[in-house]
Symmetry: C2
Subunit: 574 residues, 2 copies
């Protein structure tokens, strides 16, 4: 994810992996609604949707009076009302990696493997560290196989990203501590082609039985993943060595046997054995820092670990890379100060902490005994459902909000009071002025490293009758953006999208100033009043700045174009 984002931005990037081959099966596989949007912004959404399975419904099973479990409830899996894709996609990690590998390959970048880093050093020189032209990180690499086995190579890098998992070599070698606890939660996972009479085998299903709990995640090609919680004396005993589970002491057949007891009276067996399986003990921990001197960064499991129940692992990790890549790009291009990089840890560490707080709550309910006639202190379906739905915005990724910083400025929030600054911009139905083709605003915001300046012209643009005001707005905007754009080339750094309060029947798209329609495809009409209803923008109009990662950076009244200058110069270098 990180490498592809940087390669797409034209950054000179190398990627190494100690694995001799890419992941073929298993591993993480759930893609949240916000992550689907992010894939789409990189041009990978169509393929993801073509290859993946979709989960639309979450089902809950609880103890039945007749013994065994029964269906208690089915609810929409995604409760975030503004999700453009109101479902989760499941697809094995190998297929997801393939999308990135193919995209990278088309950009001339391939994974070098198997290679391990053997040393990493960051310069102490403040001048070197403060100037992105220097290469203050020295990394020594060693090749593990092939004609040059054992050969070392020294790389001097401007930036290094450690996306090397829960046992991150990068994190350990730079002495970054993990904070939090190694819990007792032990999980077994099996990927199978099921033979089952369970009515919800194709839904995301939580089975909360008197024999333990498990979760069903349906997958591509009719396959199903079953997560089985193993603590609390359920199932086979699990030996650990140095906090890691010893996989030689238990096998997938035993995991399936535990699941079968939980599923009773429904049947569950595996056709053609086990595609993949694992068992692991989980920690709920966050790294004390996400970067070393803003030159080496850690992303993903390297900086946060938590249980799989909330289905956040891969999503949180890809969100880290998505957040970081455009910032590194902006600094390397000379568009932004090094200070921009501080916002990575600021934004993503807070999110990781929130995630783990949620995970603790959810895990506690999940692993508690279900409430029954005999066990009045158990966890009720209502409690579980409430937390599932209350945190729906969070678990879908849609509701993530970044706090105020140099890139998240709420000064003029009253200009668009329904728009949450710091959240990803919500969908808005628009119609392209030149050809009446319908678009969602999210389709107009590719992850192309540029800030998007959305110009809502408000009532001034009604049917193009009063374009003199639009011309004033364009003059002011052009002046402002030229001051921050490198070589005065506005469109290198900004994409300008214009939204008119007009009707497709009468609009003259080419009557508007050239800056507001750098291409005929850049000007839209808002026929349904969505700007007002969804964003809270009144007839006087507004500028909305969307960051390169799709999050709302700031808003301003049309007459306060100087606020845009203030916003961009806070981190701009030009």
């Amino acid at each position: 994810m990180a490498c592809n984002a940087l390669a797409k931005a034209g950054v000179n990037v190398r990627i190494i992996d100690q694995r001799p081959a890419k992941v073929a099966a298993g591993q993480a596989d759930g893609i949240q609604p916000r992550t689907i949007e992010i894939f789409q912004s990189y041009g990978l959404g169509e393929r993801l949707l073509r290859e993946g399975n979709q989960m639309h419904t979450a089902a809950f099973y609880n103890p039945s009076a007749q013994g065994g479990v029964e269906l208690t409830d089915r609810v929409p899996d995604v409760t975030a009302t503004s999700a453009k894709f109101p479902f989760e996609v499941t697809l094995h990690q190998g297929a997801i990696e393939d999308m990135f590998l193919d995209s990278m390959k088309s950009l001339g970048v391939e994974v070098e493997r198997p290679i391990v880093p053997v040393s990493i050093q960051v310069s102490e020189d403040e001048e070197e560290l403060g100037n992105p032209k220097f290469r203050p990180v020295k990394v020594t690499l060693r090749r593990l196989s092939g004609p040059n086995t054992g050969l070392s190579e020294v790389v001097y890098a401007r930036f290094v990203i450690g996306a090397d998992g829960a046992h991150s070599w990068v994190r350990k070698n730079l002495n970054v501590a993990m904070e939090g606890e190694q819990t007792d939660h032990v999980w077994g996972v099996i990927d199978i082609l099921p033979d089952s009479d369970f009515p919800d085998i194709r839904n995301k299903t939580v089975v909360h039985s008197n024999n333990g709990s498990c979760m069903v995640i349906p997958r591509e090609n009719d396959k199903v993943r079953v997560y089985i919680q193993l603590e609390d004396g359920q199932g086979p005993s699990v030996a650990t060595t140095n906090g890691r589970v010893d996989k030689t002491k238990i096998g997938p057949e035993q995991l399936l046997a535990v699941a079968q007891r939980i599923f009773h009276p429904y049947s569950l067996s595996a056709v053609n054995g086990f595609e993949w399986w694992t068992i692991y003990k989980i920690g709920q921990r966050v790294a004390s820092q996400f970067s070393v001197k803003d030159r080496v960064f850690i992303v993903g499991d390297a900086c946060h670990t938590h249980s799989p129940k909330a289905g956040q692992g891969m999503n949180a990790s890809m969100g880290d890379s998505h957040n970081l890549a455009w910032k590194i790009t902006a600094v390397l291009r000379g568009w932004a100060n090094m200070s921009l990089l501080r916002t990575y840890e600021f934004e993503r560490r807070k999110y990781a902490q929130d995630l783990i707080a949620f995970d603790r709550k959810f895990a506690k309910l999940f692993s508690g005994k279900p409430r029954t006639e005999e066990n009045h202190d158990g966890v009720s379906h209502e409690e579980l459902l409430q937390i599932f739905q209350t945190f729906g915005g969070f678990t879908s990724g849609i509701g993530i909000r970044y706090g105020t910083s140099s890139i998240t400025d709420t000064k003029y929030h009253s200009t668009a009071p329904k728009l949450a600054i710091g959240e990803r911009i919500p969908p808005l139905a628009l119609v392209r002025a030149a050809d009446s083709r319908p678009f969602d605003i999210l389709d107009l915001l590719p992850a192309d490293s540029r800030f998007k300046v959305l110009v809502f012209l408000g009532r001034e643009s009604c049917d193009g009758q009063q374009i003199s005001r639009a011309e004033e707005v364009a003059v002011g905007l052009e002046e402002t953006l030229r001051t921050v754009a490198p070589n005065k080339d506005i469109f290198a750094l900004f994409d300008i999208v214009t939204v008119l309060s007009a009707s497709r029947k009468t609009v003259r798209y080419n009557a508007f100033p050239a800056l507001l329609r750098s291409h005929w495809s850049k000007i839209f009409v808002d026929e349904t009043g969505g700007a007002r209803n969804v964003f809270g923008i009144e007839g006087s109009g507004a500028f909305v700045v969307v960051r390169p990662d799709g999050y709302v950076g700031t808003v301003a009244p049309l007459e306060s174009v100087t606020h845009l200058a203030d916003y961009f110069t806070a981190f701009n270098r030009c």
Copy 2:
């Protein structure tokens, strides 16, 4: 189109072309809503939508009181309310051919070129002709270049399809006459990257001026096609030889000059010259027969020619191939009698005649002078708009209805009175029972050579409470279909899709009989009452048979399963 459809069906097929290379630019380029659906049924819809431009709006320009033309009206380009894709797609013919070539290549079939046929003979032997195992067509081919230039090859074919254009060699060599007239309509066409201040350059626009008429068709990559009518003394004189226009006597610059006079006061010029251009005189003609002894068929321009104004050319042609391919496949597989092939000419020749009748009406209005203050007898915008909208169902391809025949049986029409038997089945929103994923019924009907038997279980299926009736239905259906399926393998010939009147909250998809859910993905719930509202199916349910090409073949009450036996045995051989 024909070759790809046959190759997908596993038919042993060869395709030859006299052109040394595939079409690179120009030619036909408008894809109608029904054709988009057909592409989707072959798995090519996603790519078509990714690569093509969309036309959502039709604009009309007429003489202005100030001289020149002005915008009179904008209306939706597609008025057929049931179109799944309510727009047209434009894409140059080379890109469309590429989709078929790539699809064919993945099936091991490539175009052999440049090769021409030099003789064709159809046996007179009735026994040979009546048995699809014989190869009664003898074709001699000659290679035009490459190492084997001039080498002849004799092919004995079971079937031959002449998809060889308006001047069809196949048609002429089998002495099939074209009926109708060579009109005086002469058209010029230019494909340009426009520089223009015309506000509707990205819409499908009819410009009806006192200086003549033209039509704008926006295309992919910002390009535009302009069709310019040249008769009536407008523009340069056009020399013809043997009814074909002499392209050496006129060039694209002169065509553009005519268009510029029509566009006044708006500007129009060509950036980077002309991508493609042509000029042609058009006939409105239909072949007297579409096949010779049901062994040689002609499709496309080989059997019907008409003006480009209604944008039907390529669509009508691809519709022919789509209609023919599954019938040849069924005969070759031994599923159907030779008599099935008679329905190709029956269905498609009638359609071609209707198309030309429409074309005559439209062309007359289009080429007439516009009505103005000075010219009260001219064509008014209202007249042109009325015919545009009245024939919207026809021009979109959505409203094409095939007459009653062995494969279009209206006996029990009252079971689903809102469903037009002989038309393509209209969209219907369904939810998959096992996983709540939304689908349109059109997504469930791939062009895979199989008949689709849709089982609407009606009120018997409410929430799965009364499945005993469903079991009866399944037993009767299984008996019936086995009698017509080869080797009693029902699913070789039929796909069964079941629709329940149930809710996703409570449905148990796996409580229904196995025949009705050959896979978990084959059973759906109709939560919105669409079966009743759109198809007119009441609570007592219905069978709906959809032909392999997506057209409704017949319907029957659930208690009249014998009607399905009657329907299939009318053309079935097993």
